[in-house]
Subunit: 369 residues, 2 copies
């Protein structure tokens, strides 16, 4: 079983404990959960259930927080297409962190990255998609007074000079070893990680003092932040703390794929489209109803189950019952999918209303200078 996890390719059978080891992460343990709970007053299901499963320097961050040295949040999106539910998941968690810790959020739209790495996208397209994606961010309810969203190309006057400071300290050799670049990689690809490092220290530059940073992200983005952690101290800034999630699996099994529309539910999908995708999804079920009733199903490999676990069944008791019923053959896949389709439909209808309203609120969030 081999797998590959880079910012541009996730494939194979993911072994998260190997990822922890290879990337040099720490698993989130009980003590850390209790510590977060102490400050937040509760634990988000994504933490409790191990979806956000690993971290770097969270204890240091909480030490700082306890001393009154508040952190800011930084996360982002590579606008290569419309937003799907798998993208929303870490943002939902980020919003929870913003609410519970009163943290500012810097949200980066890497329209530059998605352009230089893409065979099919023009810059005008990645910019347009960034604006589309921003609507989804805003729809999640981030605090407009505490949240700044920016496109790399539009915010370049601020970002580019800071990116140069990172770039000057990053050799091709290191970039190559970290991202697997070759002689055929283009020079935009090679430079890009410098830009992704900037929001981790930009608030410190602007405020003229060192501010702790926490970056929540799906674990494929880790190579960028390993580089950021290496270089920021050389510029006099803190290493950013970080917290990593696993992925929401694709509906066809395996990872969600941009080239397979039916593997993910997009925030712009109508409830009927979403339902169709869910009803056609791969599951952990058996070949026949009879067999499933007798032997039960395997929820651990089932994307439907993971949709519940990560986003659509926050109640622990209800989830435990589902697991029990699935394993025991008491619930069949069709019924389980139907129920999820209802919840997803409710979510989409609500989200799309908020997304529509976000259109007139874009200017409250976007920074361009």
């Amino acid at each position: 079983m081999t797998f590959k996890v880079t910012p541009w390719e996730v494939s194979g059978d993911l072994d998260y404990s190997k990822i922890v080891k290879d990337f040099g992460l720490e698993v989130i343990n009980e003590a850390l959960m209790r510590r977060i709970e102490k400050h937040a007053g509760e634990l988000h299901p994504l933490l409790k259930r191990g979806i956000f499963f690993a971290h770097r320097d969270m204890n240091w961050l909480l030490d700082q927080y306890e001393k009154g040295n508040k952190f800011f949040l930084y996360t982002g999106r590579g606008p290569s297409g419309h937003t799907h539910l798998g993208h929303l998941m870490p943002w939902i968690f980020t919003k929870w962190l913003q609410d519970k810790f009163g943290a500012d959020l810097w949200f980066q739209m890497t329209d530059d990255e998605k352009y230089v790495f893409s065979d099919r996208l023009e810059l005008e397209q990645t910019k347009k998609l960034a604006y589309e994606n921003a609507l989804d961010v805003i729809a999640l309810g981030f605090d407009e007074k505490k949240t700044k969203i920016f496109l790399d190309t539009e915010y370049a006057k601020t970002l580019y000079p800071q990116a140069l400071k990172v770039a000057k300290r990053l050799t091709f050799s290191t970039a190559k070893a970290t991202f697997g670049f070759t002689n055929e990689s283009n020079v935009g690809e090679i430079f890009f990680t410098s830009v992704q490092a900037v929001p981790a220290f930009l608030p410190s530059v602007i405020k003229g003092k060192n501010i702790p940073c926490l970056i929540p992200y799906a674990v494929d983005q880790d190579p960028h932040f390993r580089i950021a952690r290496d270089i920021l101290p050389k510029l006099g800034y803190y290493k950013p703390a970080s917290i990593q999630s696993i992925f929401l699996p694709g509906l066809k099994g395996g990872k969600m794929s941009a080239s397979e529309e039916n593997s993910a539910i997009y925030t712009t999908d109508g409830p009927e489209t979403a339902k169709k995708k869910l009803m056609n999804a791969f599951t952990g079920g058996r070949d026949s109803i009879k067999e499933q009733k007798e032997k039960g199903a395997n929820y651990s490999i089932c994307p439907i189950y993971h949709y519940y676990k990560q986003m659509f069944m926050p109640d622990d008791k209800e989830l435990a019952e589902l697991e029990h019923d699935c394993k025991g053959g008491k619930i069949l896949c069709g019924e389980c999918k139907q129920k999820l389709a209802g919840r997803v439909a409710d979510f989409l209808v609500d989200h799309q209303k908020k997304r529509e309203k976000a259109k007139s609120r874009l200017d409250k969030f976007l920074i361009r200078d």
Copy 2:
């Protein structure tokens, strides 16, 4: 005899005919000179005397010009220190082109380049130097209505998205072969040429139509523009035409060196400092006055002579007399230096007055958005 000519290092005994061959330039011939003269009404001494000695696509550019398709000029400065007379020389020629062809000029200050390539300069310093250098550009008398000066870091909101379009089409392999990068080169160095390519097509982007571009530059900048010529057509723009100069030699013999202050006269030098540098300069003279009177001196290797030829003796008859007297031993180096020091002093006093006035005019030239 070996030599090296890159944007960051010029060393060895320069063989300009080998440079023409290696770089794939065309020598400026009589026919082209006559063609330029026809439109300009005269020939600038720097052209007549072969200081601007080579070109690419000048005949195409004049074809366009004759069809009413006017070109714009693009040149620039890497702000790694104060401006010296060797920097002014191509700018003086560029001003002549602006005057004679009514051309807009885009003047790039590569504060980003000088930062990422330098072991000693911080970005704040290269920015500050860019402003200092801009005073010298303005002091030369460029038309404020037709001249835009910009710093790469300040103009990044406009430049960076366009640079990405170049970067996407430039592999590390090509950048490496062109500039000699290694695994230890930093990713800012590797990316930079993308930014230097932008002004060659930016006016076309802004105006929404293809506009011919002419880039005058000292020949060490050629690698950048070979890349620009390769990539711009892929973006739908004309290849920029270009015209190349040799260097003003250093006063100590060889090339002017940033690390040897006495090898160049800076625009900020007082007349006495300049005089001292000139009086201490290397010349083509003989070991003794007696020998020089008998055998004459060798003006072709003499920096004092080249100062006259390139900047301080526009009158052809006077220059021919100087050559004659030097070769014939009729003029000694001390006298020749004294005379030049007087001319240089006059120039500096006048230039420094204009430079002082330029401080209040910076905003008329600088673009930042």
